[in-house]
Amino acid sequence: MRREWTVAAITRATLPVLLALTVVEVGSGLVLGSFEATLLQYPSLLVLVPVTIGTAGNLGSILASRLSTAFHLGTLSFDPGDDELSGNVVATVTLAVTLFPVVGAGAWLLAAATGGAELAAGTVVAVAALSGACLAVLAVVTTLAATYAAYRFELDPDDVVIPVVTNACDVLGVLVLFGAVELLV
């Protein structure tokens, strides 16, 4: 695929998606604002916010970036039997399941160290682990759908897929975290 490296071309390709995603992100901010009182009451949950949505976004963007390069090199096929595709999906889910409990423990430790651990360590770990498992599945589905859509509409995956995936994970991250907090806290 030929691509242009000028400010105008890059802006044309990215700005409309960027502004649309910004509106979506403000929506996720409104969800965050709606349980602001709970977050300010339990600092370990506030500590968990950036790392949960960030790690979910990372999982999606690593997968998207690998698929995007495979796409540019012409080695990607959208076939469930494709080893490259399924191997990357399996790795993404395994990474999430192994990392998120550690994320929860780390958030509790940090909150405890800064004098704000009102919640039990087990509760924070459970919130992180549950959020992580849900987010891994959502990140994979979103990444595959966005990469496939970019391929079908002949858009450059680098410009489109990573923003869509990262933002979807941010919004889903806030919603999933909200759900896990409602369920477990």
Binding site: L21, T22, L30, I53, S65, S86, G87, V90, V103, L110
Partner: protein, 190 residues
């Protein structure tokens, strides 16, 4: 290659960068946990936080992915050369799009909170905070992305695996730290 070997390779390649980003994300969380005073002082700031953090990830993640693909395709050389037309255009586009999106996020948050009749700080205050934070973190992130992607590539690492975690981590830490600084600059000592 079998599914298992692809998965093991991908896991091994991604795990260290992802673990490092978790550490960075926790620090970002500690900054967020420590800015409760600013969150209370500027109403609507928490609503703006995901949009501002996402803008960093979006703009500089795409910038990093573009550099990675450029390196793979051999159209970008892995060294900093201010005369490189492609590199210069990619940096200028990232900076200007980042600032535009930050200011836009502040306007949207202000309008939506106003419509919902939820408490919100002044429009000028929110926009100024977003732009100051956007400019400072933009400069820091451009430097971090170029340095890590080029250095990683020269040492034989796949830049694709470095970009996402790097940008989200440094984006969140810089983004929140510079947000605190921006609140102090715009509103005064909180």
């Amino acid at each position: 290659m079998s599914v298992r070997s692809v998965a093991v390779d991908a896991y091994r390649e991604a795990a260290p960068a992802l673990a490092a980003s978790v550490v960075g994300g926790l620090f970002a969380g500690a900054v967020l946990g420590g800015m409760r005073a600013q969150l209370r002082a500027v109403e609507g700031l928490l609503v703006l936080v995901p949009a501002l953090l996402a803008t960093r990830g979006n703009v500089y993640g795409a910038f990093g992915a573009r550099l990675a693909t450029g390196l793979h395709q051999g159209v970008v050389e892995p060294r900093v050369d201010t005369g490189d037309r492609r590199l210069r255009a990619a940096v200028a586009a990232a900076m200007s799009n980042g600032l535009l999106a930050s200011g836009f996020a502040a306007v949207v948050a202000y309008v939506v909170l106003g419509v919902l009749a939820r408490p919100v700080a002044g429009l000028g205050t929110l926009v100024a905070i977003a732009l100051v934070a956007g400019l400072l973190s933009g400069v820091a992130l451009t430097g971090a992305v170029v340095a890590v992607v080029f250095a990683g590539y020269r040492r034989g690492r796949n830049p694709d695996t470095l970009v996402g975690p790097l940008v989200t981590t440094t984006g969140d830490v810089f983004g929140l730290a510079f947000l605190v600084l921006a609140v102090r600059v715009v509103v005064g000592g909180v």
